[in-house]
Subunit: 430 residues, 2 copies
Amino acid sequence: MDMKPPNELTASEIVAAVSAGRTTREAVMRACLDRVAAREPQVQAWTILDPERALAAARAADRESRGGPLAGVPFGVKDIIDTEDYPTEWGTPIHRGRRPNRDAACVALTRRAGGMLLGKTVTTEFANLHPGPTRNPRDPARTPGGSSSGSAAAVADHMVPVALGTQTTGSTIRPASFCGVFGYRPTYGEHRLNGVMEASGSLDTLGILARALDDVALWRDVLLGIAPAPIAEPVRAPRIGIYRPSPAWDEVEPATRTLVENAARDLAKAGADVSDVMLPAEFAGLNAAHRWISSFEFARNFTWEIAHHWNEISETLRTGRLADGLSCSFERYVEMKELAASCRSAFDALWQGFDIMLTAAAYGEAPVGGGTFASAPLYMMSTVLHVPSMSLPVFTGPKGMPIGLQILARRHDDRALFGWGRWTYRVLTS
Amino acid sequence: MDMKPPNELTASEIVAAVSAGRTTREAVMRACLDRVAAREPQVQAWTILDPERALAAARAADRESRGGPLAGVPFGVKDIIDTEDYPTEWGTPIHRGRRPNRDAACVALTRRAGGMLLGKTVTTEFANLHPGPTRNPRDPARTPGGSSSGSAAAVADHMVPVALGTQTTGSTIRPASFCGVFGYRPTYGEHRLNGVMEASGSLDTLGILARALDDVALWRDVLLGIAPAPIAEPVRAPRIGIYRPSPAWDEVEPATRTLVENAARDLAKAGADVSDVMLPAEFAGLNAAHRWISSFEFARNFTWEIAHHWNEISETLRTGRLADGLSCSFERYVEMKELAASCRSAFDALWQGFDIMLTAAAYGEAPVGGGTFASAPLYMMSTVLHVPSMSLPVFTGPKGMPIGLQILARRHDDRALFGWGRWTYRVLTS
């Protein structure tokens, strides 16, 4: 028997326990639902869930001994992702009760693999900055980060082993850092987004929140619709580039900078070849590129809401991304897209000397209050450059709250990212 | 007064007539609806429309003298694009009655500009090959082409001046060629797809069907959410590359090849600098790249339908794109994406000597029967390479049916494409 309560098992542990007959899908789901019942009044990670429906589905899967690489694994889904059995409301009162008739591709792929939907998790408004009610489970006075707020909080609080998020700026990496879980943003374009709200199509990806790196790798393959492969064990220590982008790095809190620099030193001691990443001068424009690409696209995607529900849109969004997007010329938008494409090409060449790059996953610990807090410049590289990234939960800040180490790999090298990520995680947590 | 019946006016002519008070939005809409009533039993371009709703909306806009660059212009929308007032059924019985609660970004942008939705147009099943009921208005024994079948047929038959389509392979260019209207496939990534069914996210774009080049340019800007700019008059004749890709060119019917080659000769006589495009050897792989990228992505996007409604999916789709997609390895998919990216870079360099490239828009005239008929290799260059393309309705084939001349420009050079397109169209139709 596993010693941990079922709701504290990782997805891989659940699959093993269910497949070996050591527990049932129903027992796992019940443990997760009990945890939700106990903690949800404080954490507020969920927009909607139906315990009876979730238990009935688990019992049916038990009866049929339904297999699959995620057999019996309860999962949460960010509420900008369509599900056939629950409303999908995009974090806005404008779409209260919005009811798709089918599962998004990512949800259907997860269910086909044996995953059991527990419910929908809180997103910020339209996956932008204006926060929902979710609190940081480690300290309810603090933000969980966003926009995948509920997914990160639910995973961190042992309500589900894994949850789906998305990322357009830092919407997976940031809440993973603030809540102390693994967050993974895949190579742009690899996963399908049919049934997922488009925020900014040139930048949007899915995101995975989990408490184990193996679970990230497992679910990533399921979401690609391919046979899961275990994380390959690296045969040598990695060549690591430290990424201290100016001016974003200057905004990183001194304590966080020290944590990252100490980690680099420990990784070097463990055999890694560690050196600084020298970025071409044009990379200084990536922050602006992200701002104008994302806002130009976002403002057009929500034309219907702007036309019919302007007063139900938050002040934060109206004066932030929408104001940016409505003021941005098409010429600037194209110029920024061409800059981003040029940097992507230049970045490809930079990987000659590196296996992974590392930096902070946020400026510091989750701040007090409900805001989602941007730390945006730290996400520029992975988001605009379309490379995969992860937040590894390896640091504790001065207030005792988690901070993530962000690692990046080259495009389509997501499996290598997992391998080097595990090596890095082991060194820093052993 | 305009001499033409209102339903035969172009969008630009409608805007001018409405703005000058020479007609009303209601009169234009009524003329279009009358045409639909007379012709729809034969053409079958529409999935759903509500004449009373359309007329009421037109009257309301008349009362408010609602302006905008598309003031009073009736438009059709392919039924994979969400509309708040009609179901959106994706061309499949699986989604009969599917009812979104909002307009897709492209529909909301068009309405904001004064456009008046007439109804939803027939799409092939999931915008793939299996045809709907639409017939070619020039000859009901023949296919209109697809997948934007109803949009092309409705525009060709003077039911609406303009209609929205999409393109993942040749879904706008092909029906435009078969029906004898302008078809435009924009630079990949410029237009937002929020509310549009994702078929293959790495390739999908909107498409515009129209009877006038000015209307294409006008609507393109509206769909970008920017102030429309008139087509700039070229100050010189273009440098034209003739694109005869092997082996696709060998499939082009001899009569069509002759039409294209005669057109090239006429354009040269009019002052164009015409020469052959020499493609790098790796371009021979683009056909396979399109096949595997599109099918890998398509098969994942419709996981829910595959899991729950396999028997309601056509044999064509199950044994075609879905079989391909489910058999394609992730490694092959990534390899094909990398080939496509490499060809895009190589293609950028090829434009040094050319303003536009031209080729056929289809192998020949619309065939007899209901099939959508691929001519797929001719679309590879624009679709996989992400460049803008148009079908110009300039040819008549041996059976008296239209054939389009396909022209391409470099990425983000859509406005230049319109300018060179007009020059080309004038030379070939004067």
